[in-house]
């Protein structure tokens, strides 16, 4: 596993939301008050508050029955627009998927990953754009054709129109997603050969925290750097005191599989000499440590098979052969892994050491975990499909909201831009804004390009520099604003990664952030769409 499932900071996220949302609302109210007062005097000032009040009135008086009617209407309209033709493309894709997926056919373990990746990508690439088009096109088309009049003349709130649209598209999208998800699930099951069916599971890992010791045995935060361009893993040197120490918390009997503690690892080898290559990998060893009882229980030497799941099943009761001659246990004593090795607070400490001189073993936090009883593949898969549903809902909300204040084509382009930036450039923006990426401003870059000035030379002092700095600062601030407002769609694709690699989707590190991200846009979208629709001249073409 090459990604690090870091638990989501819910409280931090909520605070962040309050700051961004609160300040945006405050700025909006202040601007409205100023504009209102300047254009209509005191009437304008009170009008703003009336408008705010109006939203609260409507939101508290929404009728489920009316929303449902509008939802049904939305679904009917979408069906009339032949939305279900999407299944034809879906069917064609699946019929010819074999052409594109024959790559790693000789390695069923790699092939399974390709199949799952394909199914989930195909579903999201079909459903999300279709729902985006529908959501962006629907309202402006109604306004253009004036069919909206049949609704707005009825006793229905504007907010209900918006909610009805959002709900209608969401229900329709959900139905399509369920059908596609089911077909995809059956397809994967049929496509994966019998020998690789064992790969279709949802492993439930318990991750620990990792620290290292250097070759002298002193604690360090990281191990050695072997010059790998990807610094995800750091390395411990073989046949020295270098160790990687994993600490797992909350381990008890319920984590056992068939009364065994199962550890799964995927370390990376780095050889400084060829060594014995016929063994199939570098030798390493786990040492289970309980400081309270001064107990150190080494495992047998293990062979590290790279990029595979190395599984060690430790029987609950094991003979302690006391090789290091210290601690409570005597040679031959039987110990219980959960009672004796796991300490009284439920912590399990595992040291990893490389046994071969001159060879190094690389590891990161997620490279070793305690595997608890697996869930069915369906469990992880459905969560991954849910991970498509969430961005779909978000896209629908954004699409409907934007279509409330601009025409169809513009709404499509705007939503598409937001989605693409959210999917592809969010990390890039964060890198620029956090200073991780050494980047000059856009105008400065352009200036350097046309004057052939390299990035090491300082800009000459003078008005040009002043103007460039001012404009670039403005652009960077705009980028900052975009970064705050545009949703991070990357969060949702993480869920796919879990299932592809045979894991259950983590609640803390993937599902929760996805749900929270989607939920965070509900209120802002409703507010923006409500006021846009309220202020919009619905008679205009």
């Amino acid at each position: 596993m090459s990604f690090d499932p870091i638990p989501y900071d819910l409280l931090g996220a909520f605070k962040y939301f309050l700051v961004v949302f609160g300040s945006a609302m405050l700025i909006a109210v202040v601007v409205c008050l100023i504009v209102g007062t300047l254009t209509r005097g005191a009437k304008g000032f009170t009008g703003v508050f009336r408008g705010i009040f109006d939203f609260f009135v409507q939101i508290t008086h929404v009728s489920c029955r009316r929303i449902w009617s509008l939802t049904v209407l939305t679904i009917r309209e979408a069906l009339r627009q032949k939305i279900l033709f999407v299944f034809i493309i879906f069917a064609v894709l699946f019929m010819f998927a074999g052409w594109f997926l024959s790559g790693a056919a000789d390695r069923p373990d790699l092939q399974v990953q390709s199949y799952i990746d394909f199914v989930l990508k195909a579903i999201s690439w079909l459903v999300i754009p279709i729902m985006l088009l529908l959501a962006c096109w629907s309202l402006p088309e109604d306004i253009k054709k004036r069919t909206i009049h049949t609704v707005v003349t009825k006793p229905a709130y504007r907010i209900e129109i918006v909610m009805g649209r959002m709900l209608g598209f969401t229900l329709l999208g959900s139905a399509i997603l369920v059908v596609m998800g089911t077909i995809g699930y059956i397809w994967i099951n049929r496509q994966v050969p019998e020998t690789a069916q064992y790969k279709l599971v949802s492993k439930v890992p318990v991750y620990g925290e990792i620290v290292f010791t250097d070759r002298e045995g002193a604690l360090t935060k990281t191990g050695l750097n072997v010059g790998d361009i990807w610094d995800f893993r750091s390395y411990i040197e073989g046949a020295t005191k270098a160790r990687a120490i994993y600490k797992f918390t909350g381990i008890d009997e319920s984590d056992a599989i068939d009364d065994k503690l199962v550890l799964e690892s995927s370390f990376e080898a780095f050889r400084t000499h060829k060594g014995n290559m016929e063994k199939g990998g570098i030798l390493y060893q786990f040492i289970f440590v309980n400081e309270d009882k001064n107990l150190r229980v080494p495992s047998r030497p293990l062979i590290n098979k790279e990029y595979s799941d190395n599984v060690l099943e430790v029987k609950r009761k094991l003979k302690y052969d006391n090789p290091e001659g210290k601690g409570e246990g005597d040679a031959g004593t039987e110990i219980d892994i959960f009672d004796d090795v796991v300490d009284k607070d439920g912590n399990l400490t595992v040291e990893v050491q490389c046994l071969e001189a001159g060879q190094l073993l690389g590891m990161a936090r997620p490279d070793l975990f305690v595997r608890t009883p697996d869930r069915a593949f369906l469990a992880g898969y459905s969560k991954a499909v849910f991970g498509i549903w969430l961005p779909m809902v978000l896209v629908i909300m954004l699409g409907v909201t934007i279509s409330c204040f601009v025409k169809g084509p513009v709404a499509i382009l705007t939503t598409l831009t937001i989605v693409l930036v959210g999917f592809m450039s969010k990390e890039y923006m964060t890198e620029i804004l956090s200073g991780q990426m050494q980047a000059s401003g856009a105008i400065e870059a352009w200036y350097r390009l046309i004057t052939h000035m390299n990035s090491q030379t300082a800009l000459p002092d003078g008005p040009v520099k002043f103007i460039i700095e001012i404009v670039d600062a403005g652009i960077i601030n705009f980028l900052w604003l975009c970064q705050q407002v545009i949703p991070n769609f990357g969060i949702f694709s993480n869920m796919r990664e879990y299932v592809i690699k045979g894991f259950d989707v983590s609640w803390n590190a993937a599902l929760l952030p996805g749900i929270i991200t989607t939920a965070a846009y509900i209120l802002p979208c409703l507010i923006v769409s409500f006021y846009s629709l309220k202020l919009r001249e619905l008679e205009a073409k």
């Binding site: 997926l101 790559g103 000789d106």
Partner: protein, 442 residues
């Protein structure tokens, strides 16, 4: 406003359509498949062999993907290429493989894409894996990938050459060559391939160098029709015969000294002198042949009045030097002789005995090998122009000297191959290092 009536406007449209259709039909009419049929563009396509089907096998998925992308395939390829780099960096091998396949769907006739990615899979990705079985799997992936490239591109002899080179050099000359050559005949996935080779790689259960030779021959055949841009033409065309020598040499490296090995050298000599040696190559002073007789020199000089016999001799000599022609000729000839075989066998046995710690027996065998090898070198001094031949002798001396050191025996003043030892001192430190690693000598 327009003064034309609706009818007149429609008529004008029809006329405009017909007028525009004439150049469209003239230019773009599709070919019926017969020569000279179709519009101007279709004829040009046939003339310059630019049609999809004339370039190689047509992959419908590739063709349809390029059609759907219209002019955006360059951008799409670049994006995919960046993805592939990223996957490689993050060691996502399955994704890398499928992304590379997608790139190929978009650029099926761009030779460098096949060349680079095939090499990348067989060399870079393979080296990232720790277990030799896994490394071999990725070498096979590289070969299979390039094989596909060959099928899709009939006009690139370079691709056949690259395939051959993977079969030959990658399998036979890597650090892991012993296991690779073993896996070549019995794939590590024994269950799937039933204790045989992967049929996509080695359908006829041959030696890797024999398969390499077959592919080099295919490359040579294609090279007669389509120019290659890989290396000097003579060297390119020498490849199959070098593969034959490698085949014979590999048996020797593995300690097989029977008839099969002698036959392989004999076959190599025959191929080298009667096929490669008799092939004409164009030099700045006309054609030459590497295996020449006086009559050939005269005949070649007589073809052009501006070329003298001295010119032909000069250029023949230069080309022989470039291709190391005389060395390989002599080597192949000498390897069929009993004395040479005995020399190799004694040195090989000495090394094996050394490896198993039987130093006395090793010493005897190495001394015997050195004596015989000295005789061979005296008989064929031109062998001393080739690295492999020199290193074989030096390795024997190094081990022999090491045994003497170990036993506290003085090195005699005179011993076989001493002139070679004195002459090639520059190579000794590196060879000593290699042997230390190979035999675990401290």
């Amino acid at each position: 406003m327009n003064k034309l009536t609706s009818k007149q406007r429609k008529l004008a449209y029809v006329i405009a359509i017909i007028v525009l259709l004439i150049p469209v039909i003239w230019l773009g009419m599709p070919s019926t498949g017969e020569e000279g049929s179709g519009g101007e563009l279709a004829q040009l396509r046939v003339k310059h062999e630019l049609g999809e089907s004339t370039l190689g096998d047509v992959d419908p998925s590739s063709a349809s993907m390029n059609f759907v992308l219209l002019g955006l395939r360059g951008i799409a390829t670049n994006l995919l290429w960046m993805d592939a780099n990223d996957y490689q960096k993050r060691k996502e091998w399955a994704k890398l493989r499928s992304t590379v396949d997608s790139i190929i769907l978009l650029q099926p006739h761009y030779m460098k894409v096949w060349d680079f990615q095939g090499w990348n899979l067989a060399y870079n990705v393979s080296a990232e894996w720790d277990a030799v079985e896994d490394r071999y799997f990725w070498v096979k992936e590289g070969i299979k990938f390039l094989n596909e490239g060959v099928q899709r591109n009939e006009r690139f002899p370079e691709l056949d050459w690259k395939v051959a080179n993977l079969h030959g050099q990658k399998v036979g000359r890597s650090d892991e060559w012993r296991l690779f050559r073993k896996f070549y005949k019995v794939d590590p996935d024994t269950e799937r391939y039933e204790d045989g080779p992967d049929p996509e790689i080695n359908p006829e259960r041959l030696d890797n160098y024999q398969v390499a030779k077959e592919h080099f021959l295919l490359a040579n055949e294609k090279e007669l029709k389509h120019k290659q841009h890989l290396q000097m033409r003579m060297l390119f065309r020498a490849s199959p015969w070098h593969a034959q020598f490698d085949y014979a040499n590999a048996m020797q490296r593995e300690g097989t000294f029977g008839k099969q090995r002698t036959d392989a050298w004999a076959q190599g000599f025959k191929d080298w002198t009667t096929i490669f040696g008799r092939e004409e190559f164009i030099t700045p002073k006309g054609p030459i042949v590497l295996e020449w007789t006086e009559d050939d020199i005269k005949d070649l000089a007589n073809r052009d009045e501006n070329i003298s016999e001295a010119d032909v001799r000069h250029w023949t000599n230069r080309y022989q030097d470039t291709s190391n022609y005389r060395f390989w000729r002599t080597r192949a000839l000498s390897e069929s002789e009993t004395e040479t075989i005995d020399a190799h066998k004694a040195i090989y046995d000495g090394e094996q005995l050394f490896r198993s710690g039987k130093f006395d027996e090793a010493n005897v065998q190495l001394e015997k090998g050195m004596q015989l090898y000295a005789k061979v070198l005296n008989k064929y001094p031109s062998l001393l122009s080739e690295d492999l031949a020199i290193e074989e002798g030096l390795q024997a001396i190094i081990l022999w000297r090491y045994i003497h050191d170990l036993k506290g025996l003085p090195i005699p003043d005179s011993y076989p191959l001493k002139p070679l030892w004195n002459k090639e001192q520059g190579r000794v430190p590196q060879l000593e290092n290699d042997l230390r690693r190979r035999y675990g000598i401290q």
